[in-house]
Amino acid sequence: MPRPEIEQITFTVDGREVEAPAGTMLADAAKLGDVDIPVFCYEPKLGAPVGACRMCLVEIEGIPKLQTACSTPVRDGMVVDTQNPRVKSAQESVVEFLLLNHPLDCPVCDKGGECPLQDISFGWGRGETRFVEPKRHFQKPVELSPLIAIDRERCILCYRCVRFSQEVSEDYQLILHERGADTFVGTFDGHPYVAPFSGNIMELCPVGALTSQAYRFRARPWDIEQSGSVCTMCPGQCNVSYTVRDDRVVRVLNRQNDAVDDGWLCDRGRFAYQSTYVDERVTGPLVRENGRLVEASWDRALATAAKLIDAAGDRVGALAGGSASNEDGWLLRRLMTEVVGSRDFDSRPAGLLSAGLQAALDAPEAQATVEDLDWAHAVLVLDTEPVDDMPVLDLRLRKGIRRNGVRLAVATSRPSALDPNAELTVRFAPGAGEAFVCALDAAIGGVGDVTGLAAAAGADPEAVEALGRMLREAGDDVIVVWGERLTHIADPERAANAARALLKASGRLGLLDGRTGSGLLQVPSGGNGRGLREIGVLPNVAPGFSEPAKVGRSSREIATATSAGELDVLHLLHVDPVATFPDRALWQSALGKARGVVAHAAFLTEGVAAHADVVFPSEASAEKEGTVTHPDGRLQRLRPAVGKPEGTLPTWQVLSHLITALGGRATALTSMMVTTEITEAVPFYAGITHDEIGGFGVRWQDRDASEDFPAGDTGPFSLDAPVAAASPNGALRLGSFRSVWSSPEVRHAPALKFLAPKQRAELNPDDAADRGIRHGQRVLVTADGTVVSATAHLRTTSPRGSVFLETGLGDESASALQSTEATVPSMVTVESA
């Protein structure tokens, strides 16, 4: 559905003429005239109003009875009165009714002081009650989940949490039990409410009925300060507000930015702050001594790292992880190119695309924004699982489908959480993304051998045809949300072929023409993947997607070169390739062979703990300063909310010191000066200042400097024949995924620990039956002699011939099974343990 044109109308509220967009609900429109109408159940983020609490009753001329302002759209010439005695008495009565059963435990309630019910009772209530009967009583407090406590006595039955669960996150877990005064919120069968977005209901609750277990009794509103920043744990880059008490983060709230997060947060972003204050965190520099990492002074750690890098000459490789800010990435790049003289650095876990193709995929004309997803005609989710890779995008897609009739198609190998909402789902074999995009291109263009290509991708040809037809006929505004994983192919030729096919297919749909509301949206595999790409933390790309003088090694080539002894030192910036990159065995041997490993890490993950010679502590999210770039090109600013652990240097300063120690010229004295260096070097960032970025960020595509974006390689292309997915032939294709809960922060945060994933093998029930495997049974997954044990998890939606295992779980990871020659997807056998 296209974005509707909204005209302005004029109406009168309390004698004031107010101009408002037509169709706005009265409760919102009145605010434009500085008239405050109290509400409890109304929340525009939740979609259509329900009018459940009756707090917003107003008098409208021509309508005999009082109307709810939250569910009455304004019309031209409407005359509204919110102040007359009739309205006043209705408001007082509603407050009195709501307080009948509300306990008077404000002093012990966590909401006390920031509670809409307190504010509205004070502002619009009668001030006394006539109710003398005993109040309703429930057992309190009860755990709704390990993260949320529910106090059912305090609930005013506004439905907000139930509506969130039913209509926004669509996990359909929360319902209202019983009737009348006995009504209470809970899950249908009493199991805990565990969902990726469950924490949002605590912020929605207008009373203290739903409170955070982690924040329980930690502070009161006058003890705390709010400090805005951006979460960097995934590419979603939700705007957050850290609640700080005594220089410690005690809570994370959303900071609504409609262009980024719509005011929602996932539970990982909401509770991972706890991992800042655990003993396992690295809070000072460590140096390896007699095989063990021991605490060392900053001077010694810096000298050791400088000596290691100096001794290696230009035989140094570097990797930057997704949580690295633009500033960290930039200084790493300068260290490598200007001081060390090596171009072997990368920010992608696998795959390599030419600067031209990268530029074509990231071009401003081809860029769709997150907000465009609200009003697109059709959206294709291609080889990414939003709820795992960029959680907040999942809610955005659901919103578009539910409220604006966006048509969704999902094309992935693993069944997606969005499947039930999709008009069309297509499955292809794991690792056969290239063949699938080629088939899709043929289907959209109506040329070529769709059947053959679909078969090569392990997909159903009819479904691919139907997908092509749907995208072609949906309308002008089509958006393809694609995962960077699509191009994570070891062979650069094939990665390029996949990118070309994607560009070709997009070209056929007119996504590259610069039309607002349509285009591509890439979901990078690292939180700041786009920023690192644009400032040139890639072996073959200079800042701003220009061609460099010399091309270095990509991450995979760095691994092979280090294993072969061609690189001596590895510099790991907020990344542990053993834990997170594909091909675990190769990285383990690379780190083992490396003569020196310098790491910046917050936790001693396995690769860092086993192989790093020097570890510098990296900042927690709330301690970080710098800028990051959102997948749709929005530069956002990280502001430190709390101080770093005593005596700790920020990462940019560590890198600066290393540059100086190695004889380079450190030009930056502050993080802001690094930002300036970046905006001077990247043509399309030119002139962006911290002030311009402000609280909500700025998209560089919206600025004049975006004209300096280099022309990308947009074809016309002729596609190579893709490599066909291997036929299962008795074995199973190995697919991998990384769940939202798989990160060191989740493993270490006390509140989130229970969510840390354990390895499970997702199988189709028929495949399982062939092997005599039951749901929940322990199984052994074997490839080339490597064995990983897992719990069988049968999913009827899982495609036949494939098994999916999780990555990022140490020895048990799917990456342990992925073969070194990753040109074809790994084949595995599954048997019961």
């Binding site: 002093p107 012990v108 009161r220």
Partner: protein, 177 residues
């Protein structure tokens, strides 16, 4: 309305003109009158209170050192750690860190209790707002005002100090005294 300057004139009351014999006589008379008051105090005897050996009892509404209270029957603390006293405090001298009561460790009557309750007496202005703000009458102002110490950090009173029955150093004025 027209301006009428006459109504603005204020009559100035002046004393008798000084000067001459009459003036001298009047000054002497007034001095005697004053001295009469002084001599009458002499007859009354000494009024000096020999503090600190001797103390004046304070009135019941005197605002001295704070006290935290417990329930007499159960022995549980009345304070639930709601921090309202800290919010009301104009000198910002109260710090409360609350924690949850558990069945094994029940400290207060409510769901939460104050794990840390500190008053910085060197900052306190003894306004009594904390007592007014307290919804559970857990904190009251006591009678003690002798709080001087040699060390500022010793003036931070912890929860244990505030809960303990204070040494009776200041007598309280009895009813009708």
């Amino acid at each position: 309305m027209t301006w009428n300057p006459d109504s603005d004139v204020v009559e100035v009351a002046r004393g008798p003109e000084p000067g001459g014999l009459g003036g001298a006589y009047r000054v002497f008379g007034e001095t005697l009158r004053g001295l009469k008051t002084s001599f009458m105090r002499v007859v009354e005897g000494t009024h000096t209170v020999e503090y600190p050996e001797e103390k004046i009892p304070v009135y019941p509404r005197w605002r001295g050192r704070h006290k935290l209270h417990k329930f007499e029957d159960t022995g549980l603390e009345k304070c639930v750690g709601c921090s309202l006293c800290a919010a009301a405090c104009p000198a910002d001298c109260i710090r409360v860190v609350a924690t949850e009561n558990t069945p094994e460790n029940r400290v207060s009557g409510g769901e939460r209790y104050a794990a840390v309750y500190e008053i910085n007496m060197s900052r306190c202005i003894f306004c009594g707002y904390c007592e007014i703000a307290c919804p559970f009458d857990a904190i009251t102002m006591g009678s003690d005002f002798e709080l001087a110490d040699y060390n500022r950090s010793d003036l931070i009173f912890t929860k244990e100090m505030l809960l303990a029955e204070p040494m009776v150093r200041t007598p309280l004025r009895a009813e009708g005294e």
